[in-house]
């Protein structure tokens, strides 16, 4: 089989950490090829190399068999490669065709001549005629539905003589009906000979639109297979995505089930993100909630501590109903969230470890008149850095100057300083090296002896390895609920990538 695009042996590392370690990606003309893998498998890096955003350390890219150099996004466009990212940005007040040709309105000689709208409109009509689709390109974008915007973004890519089109989670903000509209358009594109690389976490979509798929795992491509008969074997793909078995870095589980229910959620709903989520977190054990990016787990963690207001449902702690208006209120009632994105949510930039740790409970280090006792502050922060073995010369060091693992430990130290009796950890080890990871897991297990702990994560291993009980969320709904000892990674992942399997299993 001859491929239009071949990427072979691609390597790329960031600061010593290999994101891609010899990955292949091949696409035939006129096919839709799904790129699958759990978070951190290297999908995004691969696409960024293809579209010229990153350079590659090693490997080659061939187009129609000819090796090509892609050093910048401009080179990629010249080769006929375009990418449409999630939730594409557009000029809201411009019409569809103006957005299609934005920045591409005409030759340089026309710079001062103004934009020839009539010409753009004709060009846009011809483009739509080439890829037939019922869309009014003269409508301003702010009046368009999500799927129409998506199609304008795709047309924009196609207007540059695109042969290979990358769609990065194109359905993430679309409704069920809009999805089918988009799929119909993708079929039209395939018939016109455009090749599509389709990135998604939803296997049912793969079965509907794609002809073949590649699975990435730990920076390598593990397989390339064809899809026949419009069906995919979820279990098989889940196995490919997971690879090795549980590594040995998880501390032993709790001996017996937790006795006292500490945190209890019922019917939690946030419009458009998740629906009717219920769980009980008991003191003395770890509850793991697994869902892939976009499944609603990040929003769930925010709703639990009152950082997102417009939700419904009830939350209670130790039998008392909780009405949380803000994270401040959550901290006061002994509920603490260790947030997922440490750079924007976890720690305060350009401020010291001591500042970061104590900011959650300043009342603990205050003398009279609200003056912070710096000696008390320093000793409290120093005790925590020692407890979590944070590597730093002093607690006055700024957190952003630490390594990723140590930064994450500071974020956790904040939680410990808050002395809560219910903790929610959201993706607690993103971008953390293996050594620091096991330290963090030990810490979480120790914490669970005295408090209720919920780990919300998009890494299935992390959830299964740490939790006593497991819950899986797909598209905002609970699809699996089991004891950790009764389930497997494969079962969890199957429930996190497609809902069809729920009925079967």
């Amino acid at each position: 089989m001859s491929y239009i695009l071949e990427m072979r042996g691609i390597r790329k590392s960031f600061g010593g950490l290999a994101a891609l370690d010899g990955a292949d990606l091949c696409v035939a003309a006129g096919e839709a090829h799904a790129l699958l893998g759990i978070n951190g498998a290297g999908k995004s890096t691969m696409i960024k190399i293809l579209s010229g955003v990153y350079g590659r350390d090693a490997g080659e890219i061939r187009l129609r068999g000819e090796p090509v150099q892609i050093a910048s996004p401009k080179d990629a466009l010249a080769c006929g490669i375009s990418a449409v990212y999630q939730d594409p940005q557009m000029v809201e007040s411009y019409t569809g065709y103006e957005n299609i040709y934005l920045g591409n309105e005409g030759g340089r000689e026309r710079m001062l001549a103004g934009v020839n709208r009539r010409r753009l409109r004709t060009m846009a009509r011809e483009l739509v005629a080439r890829y037939p689709f019922d869309i009014d390109v003269e409508k301003p974008v702010y009046l368009m539905s999500s799927v129409e915007r998506e199609i304008i973004a795709i047309l924009r890519a196609l207007s540059k003589e695109c042969r290979v089109l990358v769609l990065d989670e194109p359905t993430s903000i679309l409704t069920e009906k809009e999805r089918h509209t988009l799929f119909a358009f993708i079929h039209t594109l395939k018939q016109s000979g455009v090749s599509i690389i389709y990135i998604t976490h939803h296997l049912d979509e793969v079965a509907q639109v794609c002809d073949s798929f590649s699975v990435f795992r730990n920076g390598r491509s593990v397989c390339r297979e064809a899809i026949s008969g419009g069906a995919v074997d979820c279990g098989h793909i889940a196995e490919l995505m997971l690879g090795e078995r549980l590594s040995q870095l998880y501390p032993p589980r709790a001996g017996q089930p937790g006795r006292r229910v500490c945190l209890c959620a019922e019917g939690l709903t946030l419009d458009g993100r998740f629906e009717n989520i219920a769980f009980e977190a008991r003191c003395g054990e770890v509850l793991g909630i697994f869902g892939l990016v976009g499944s609603g787990i990040d929003e769930l963690s925010k709703v639990l501590v009152g950082a997102i207001g417009e939700s419904s449902g009830t939350l209670s702690k130790g039998g008392q109903p909780l009405k949380l208006a803000s994270p401040a209120a959550a901290i006061r009632s002994g509920l603490y969230l260790v947030p997922g994105n440490r750079k924007t949510e976890g720690f305060l930039h350009n401020l010291s470890i001591a500042f970061n740790v104590t900011v959650v409970r300043l009342d603990k280090v205050v003398r009279r008149l609200g003056i912070v006792d710096r000696r008390l502050e320093t000793s409290a922060a120093a005790a925590l850095t020692e407890k979590l073995s944070i590597v730093t010369p002093t607690v006055q060091k700024k957190v952003n100057e630490l390594s990723g693992g140590n930064q994450q430990k500071v974020v956790i130290a904040k939680g410990l300083f808050a002395e809560a009796d219910a903790y929610i950890f959201c993706d607690p080890t993103v971008g953390v090296d293996v050594g620091a990871k096991s330290g963090i897991y030990e810490m979480i297990r120790t914490l669970a002896a005295k408090a209720a702990v919920v780990i919300i994560s998009s890494e299935p291993e992390e959830v299964l390895g740490n939790a006593d009980r497991v819950m899986v969320i797909y598209q905002g709904r609970v699809t699996l609920r089991k004891d950790a000892t009764d389930t497997t990674l494969k079962e969890m992942l199957v429930h996190a990538i497609a809902r069809e399997e729920v009925r079967a299993g």
Binding site: G40, K343, L348, V359, D363, I371
Partner: protein, 324 residues
């Protein structure tokens, strides 16, 4: 030891720069360090320091305020008008300060609660305040009863040979230092300015902190405007119009020295800016040249205060990329 030196280096550089400025002007104009000019400079420094410390709170939360220098004009006119009605200066001053706090809270509400963009919104609010003050005074000087009521004492009254504004400045500095840099409440300002979302999730009341910063800025600017009005001897709506540049320059000089907005840094910055401005005046160079120089100083200070941040960016970017 090495770290200690590298931390202190900017302070030493600042001291040398300040000394150079003073010595230069002293050579050009021997009366520069005369006791009369020093008292004059102290008065001028005190108002800049007071207003600039208010601005320090807003810069600390990572925002800007372009309203304070216009809204404080309203406050000066209000005080002069109340005095002209026959009020005692003390309640008139209190009303002026209250007006400053009120305008600050308007800006704070707009930026903190309504989440409007800070610069444009505060320009608009400041213009409204200034416009109201202008309409109200009709642009005229309000001088009835001003000297008779001894309103000018606010600027000229000497205690132990030192003018009253210097004491006000000292009080503002001490209180602000404790509030911003030592108390638990001050932590909130820096936290919001550092990483807003992380501050919110750490239990900081972000909206309240933003509102408070603008209220403090408006209040302290009004105090400065009232002192300047008293010094002038009549109410004039344009009283605060020259505060904007020196205040921003003072805060950014402070940041380039201490790598964060802080009270002492701002005060030092104000000292340097005032020395430059009065120095130029003392050698009879028109004010717009000193504005021009201050402009250059501000740009330089912004560059210096950003150096630290820029050094760290590439490493962070690499780490972020590694996560995808």
């Amino acid at each position: 030891m090495k770290r200690y030196l590298s931390d202190r280096l900017p302070v030493v550089l600042f001291a040398l720069l300040f000394l150079a400025v003073v010595v230069t002007f002293q050579c050009l104009q021997p009366t520069f360090l005369s006791s009369a000019n020093i008292v004059n400079m102290m008065q001028s420094v005190s108002t800049t320091v007071i207003a600039a410390i208010g601005l320090t709170f807003v810069i600390a939360i990572g925002r800007s305020d372009i309203s304070f220098y216009m809204s404080c004009c309203f406050c000066g006119v209000l005080m002069a008008w109340l005095v002209s009605l026959g009020w005692h200066p003390v309640p008139a001053i209190l009303c002026g300060v209250a007006a400053g706090a009120a305008w600050g809270s308007v800006s704070g509400f707009a930026v903190g609660k309504l989440k409007l963009p800070d610069i444009i919104t505060t320009i608009a609010i400041g213009s409204i305040a200034f416009g109201l003050g202008y309409l109200f005074s009709d642009g005229a000087f309000i001088m009835q009863n001003f000297i008779e009521a001894k309103t000018h004492y606010l600027s000229q009254y000497l205690v132990l040979g030192i003018p009253l504004p210097v004491y006000v400045m000292a009080a503002v500095m001490v209180l602000s230092y404790y509030l911003l840099e030592r108390s638990r409440f001050g932590r909130a300002f820096y936290a919001v300015g550092a990483t807003e979302k992380a501050a919110y999730l750490s239990g900081v009341n972000v909206n309240r902190t933003i509102v408070l910063a603008y209220v403090i800025c408006g209040t302290l600017a009004s105090v400065a405007a009232l002192i300047m009005t008293a010094r002038q001897g009549y109410g004039n709506v344009k009283i605060g119009m020259n505060l904007l540049m020196p205040c921003f320059t003072a805060v950014y000089i402070g940041m380039s020295v201490f790598k964060r907005p802080c009270v002492v840094g701002t005060a030092l910055g104000a000292l340097l800016v005032t020395a430059i401005a009065t120095g130029f005046t003392s050698i009879n160079i028109p004010f717009y040249v000193s504005n021009l120089v201050t402009g250059f100083v501000l740009i330089l200070a912004i560059l210096l205060s950003k150096v630290v941040v820029r050094e760290k960016q590439p490493r962070m970017a690499a780490k972020e990329a590694g996560r995808t």
